[in-house]
Amino acid sequence: MSSSTTATLQVCRECGAGAPLDAHFCAQCEKILPLGRHADYFAFLGLPRKLQIDAADLERRFRDLSRRFHPDYFYNAAAAERRASLERSSYLNDAYRTLKQPASRIDYLLQLEGFGAKGPAGTSERDAFSRASVPPALLEEVFALNEELDEIREARAGGAPASEWKPRLERARVPIEAKRADHESDLRDLSARWDAAVERGAPDAERRRILDALRERVLERNYISNLLATIQRELDAA
């Protein structure tokens, strides 16, 4: 367990006893605890803040916790407990959905560690990155692609048949798809490096370097996805 979470406590509103932040039930009175504002998805699921997650283990934790505080089982409970069950179940479902996919898992970790590629979750700033300027590492590809797209659009406006420009679009896609595959592979490597750093308690400076690299790759990967979507739109417009 990452050391950053154990110091914080939450308080049972039923009996006033303290409980660790990642506890779901009060150890003293056994009542379900209200969801505090300082929880995080990893701690909530009893997982370390690592990026490689065993899918079967995540599923099992999700099912076990669902069985502990789903609203079905609090139908006859007091209002405060029903509310806590609803909040905890909603939070569990969000946590499960977010951590299930590697992409959203990395986004979430970055945000949690203050390296957000997006604005705070659930705010309208979250789409900010998609309008961001071209990542420096992609300048060359973007320049080449834009030139090619311009020529293709011109040819199309001049009445060129699809058989002429379609293959060009398909060809333009190839290097960008290769770039995306590189990025996915980089992200996997960086994820493994992050996990190793967490495990051996690496110093903050090293962790920050990994997170910086992750953040950069994520922004580029997202930009690449947008480029591919643009090509697809051109193809579909035919």
């Binding site: 599923e59 069985r67 789903h70 609203p71 179940s89």
Partner: protein
């Protein structure tokens, strides 16, 4: 203890079930019939009839009889304009408001009509429990099912119907998921299940993973306007010409095409409109409807990230899955024979009863984890929707959005909540508009109001808001776009109490008398039928008419007594005595309708 039940409130039929000794059981009437047709007829004197009796009145008093009301639940007046012509009753309501159904002089909202059906089911269940000598036979709590693809307004309308019927609605659950619960009972299986549910008016497809007793829905899709009704309308179009007909004649034709549809589930051919009608011809007509279910099936599989071949078991639900073409197509898509061991009409109610039992007993053997079928979003600048909770998110689910102010000292913000998958506001379903008030005056852009959207385990939305700089909870008044306000529901509930309460026994006596009178009237009408002389000569047994007349005279004698049981005994006797005659007349009516002649012309 009062009783808890599970209710399948269907487009065509409804039914009620409960759990006894850990197993769900459907409640039947004395004749063994589990289905209550979802039909409500309001006679001129205000008497309300529900179920089979109301269904019969479609042939005699069509304009005062409502069916397929589920199609109108949670809908606005404009939504149903194009199909209102298919129904004999009046479809009304203010522009921009909730649909209203006109039956005679009065207008009812769809939840009020559905509440009549629910009250009938409640009564049937209570009579059943009382008949077994239970001390407290009252049924006051229920789980009610809805199509998985129902939106927030349709779910809320269903919950309102339950409240108007005097039921505490423990939970609204999705029909395909309920069906999977019922199937999961006898077989403790693990695996991926697809539930294909084609009912009278709606189509759902749900993909589930079942493991350790947790029924987790991975994705759902569907069409809340696709079902057996659409097949009936297509068939009716082939029979009915352009000639104007009475509403009753149209209903005669409707009955005939439904019978032909049923016939062709077991046979290769039947007769319709006096002509040979083959299964091949039937399938050619309905193929486009069956094909409309395929798109949602593929989308649900894609959303779950699965190929059809990965599905371990396919379950069929809903009466329309009895159609061989439907079974064949589903089998083709998944490459395996679908399950149909349980009665497709009853399986949903059984699952609802299981869920009701889980809620009241806290039984943790099984757990249902469902999803929200449609994405939830809010309107942003330029009429574009910003999504906050994505479709197929496990419920309960929450999401939040930060709002700020555009001008200095602005104290309120308008928010428009929508449901659907499209980009533009105009293409999605408007759920509600509300005004966020009480924002402390400050320079433009400084306020930070966090609006929290919570979808509960019923799939129903609630909204709260908080200004983060002051940490003040904001007041929110939600005006549903196509629903009833809480006050309206309260008033309808009170209305229903005024009509229903009083002395229970007195009410039963009045009902028994009403029933007796209506049977006497129907008998008189049959005996005065313009063709009666021919009917008696050609089709009745010797002495049949005399027997009917003497039983009718007997019932008239006891009618004004206070002895309810005797009245009922004679009523049943008269019903039995006239049953054959009623069938003969019905057949003639249907035949006349099919041949294009109005009964009155005969």
């Amino acid at each position: 203890m009062s009783k808890v039940v599970g209710i399948d409130l269907g487009t065509t039929n409804s039914l009620v079930a409960y759990v006894e000794d850990g197993a769900p059981v459907v409640i039947r009437d004395e004749g063994g019939d589990a289905l209550v047709p979802s039909v409500v007829s309001v006679a001129e004197d205000g008497t309300v009839r529900v179920g089979r009796e109301a269904e019969r009145r479609l042939l005699t008093d069509a304009q005062r009889t409502a069916y397929s009301i589920k199609r109108f639940m949670g809908k606005g007046r404009e939504d149903v304009q194009h199909e209102a012509e298919h129904f004999p009753f009046r479809v009304a309501g203010e522009a921009g408001g909730v649909v209203r159904i006109g039956l005679g002089a009065r207008e009812y909202t769809p939840p009020e009509i559905s509440a009549f059906v629910l009250r009938e089911l409640k009564r049937r269940a209570e009579a059943f429990f009382a008949g077994r000598g239970e001390i407290d036979s009252e049924v006051d709590r229920a789980v009610i099912t809805v199509p998985a693809y129902f939106n927030d307004a349709q779910r809320t309308a269903t919950r309102d119907a339950g409240r108007i019927a005097g039921l505490e609605v423990l939970r609204i659950i999705n029909e395909p998921t309920a069906a999977s619960l019922a199937y999961g009972l006898d077989k403790r299986h693990t695996g991926l299940i697809a539930v294909y549910d084609l009912g009278g008016g709606t189509f759902d497809i749900s993909i589930l993973r079942v493991e350790d007793g947790v029924f987790q829905v991975l994705s759902t899709n569907g069409d809340t306007h696709l079902g057996g009704d659409d097949i009936d309308v297509l068939l009716m179009d082939t029979v009915l010409g352009d000639r104007p007909r009475s509403a009753e004649d149209v209903q005669g034709v409707r009955r005939a095409v439904i019978q032909a549809k049923w016939d062709l589930s077991d046979r290769d051919e039947t007769t319709l409109n006096g002509q040979r009608f083959t299964r091949a011809a039937f399938e050619a007509i309905i193929a486009p409807i069956v094909e409309r279910t395929i798109g949602p099936v593929r989308q649900a599989l894609a959303d779950a990230g699965l190929e059809p071949s990965q599905i371990d078991e396919v379950v069929l639900v809903g009466g329309s899955t009895r159609i061989p073409l439907v079974r064949r197509r589903v089998g083709e898509i998944f490459g395996k024979t679908p399950h149909s061991e349980l009665n497709p009409d009853e399986v949903v109610a059984l699952g609802a009863a299981v869920q009701a039992d889980i809620l009241v007993t806290g039984n943790r053997e099984m757990l249902l984890l469902d999803v929200t079928p449609l994405s939830l979003g809010i309107e942003t600048i330029g009429g574009v929707v910003s999504k906050i909770i994505m479709r197929n998110s496990t419920i309960p689910a929450s999401g939040s959005e930060m709002f700020t102010t555009a001008v200095d000292n602005q104290t309120a913000v308008d928010i428009h909540v929508l449901q659907g998958e499209r980009e533009l506001v105009a293409d999605n379903r408007s759920l509600a508009r509300f005004k966020l008030r009480g924002i402390p005056p400050m320079p433009a852009g400084m306020a930070r109001v966090q609006v929290q959207f919570q979808i509960d385990a019923n799939g129903i939305l609630s909204v709260t808001a908080r200004e983060l700089r002051t940490d003040v909870e904001q007041a929110i008044e939600v005006k549903p776009s196509y629903g009833l306000t809480d006050e309206e529901v309260e008033r309808m509930l009170l209305d229903s109490f005024e009509h229903a309460e009083a002395d229970f026994e007195a009410r039963l006596l009045i009902e028994a008398r009403n029933e007796a009178e209506s049977v006497i009237q129907a008998t008189d009408k049959s005996l005065r039928h313009p063709e009666f002389a021919a009917i008696e000569k050609e089709e009745l047994a010797p002495g049949e008419r005399q027997k009917i007349e003497s039983v009718a005279a007997g019932l008239r004698m006891v009618l004004n007594s206070k002895d309810r049981e005797t009245i009922q005994k004679w009523t049943h006797a008269l019903n039995d005595a006239t049953q054959h005659l009623a069938e003969v007349i019905m057949n003639r009516t249907v035949k006349a309708a099919l041949s294009g002649k109005s009964v009155d012309d005969v």
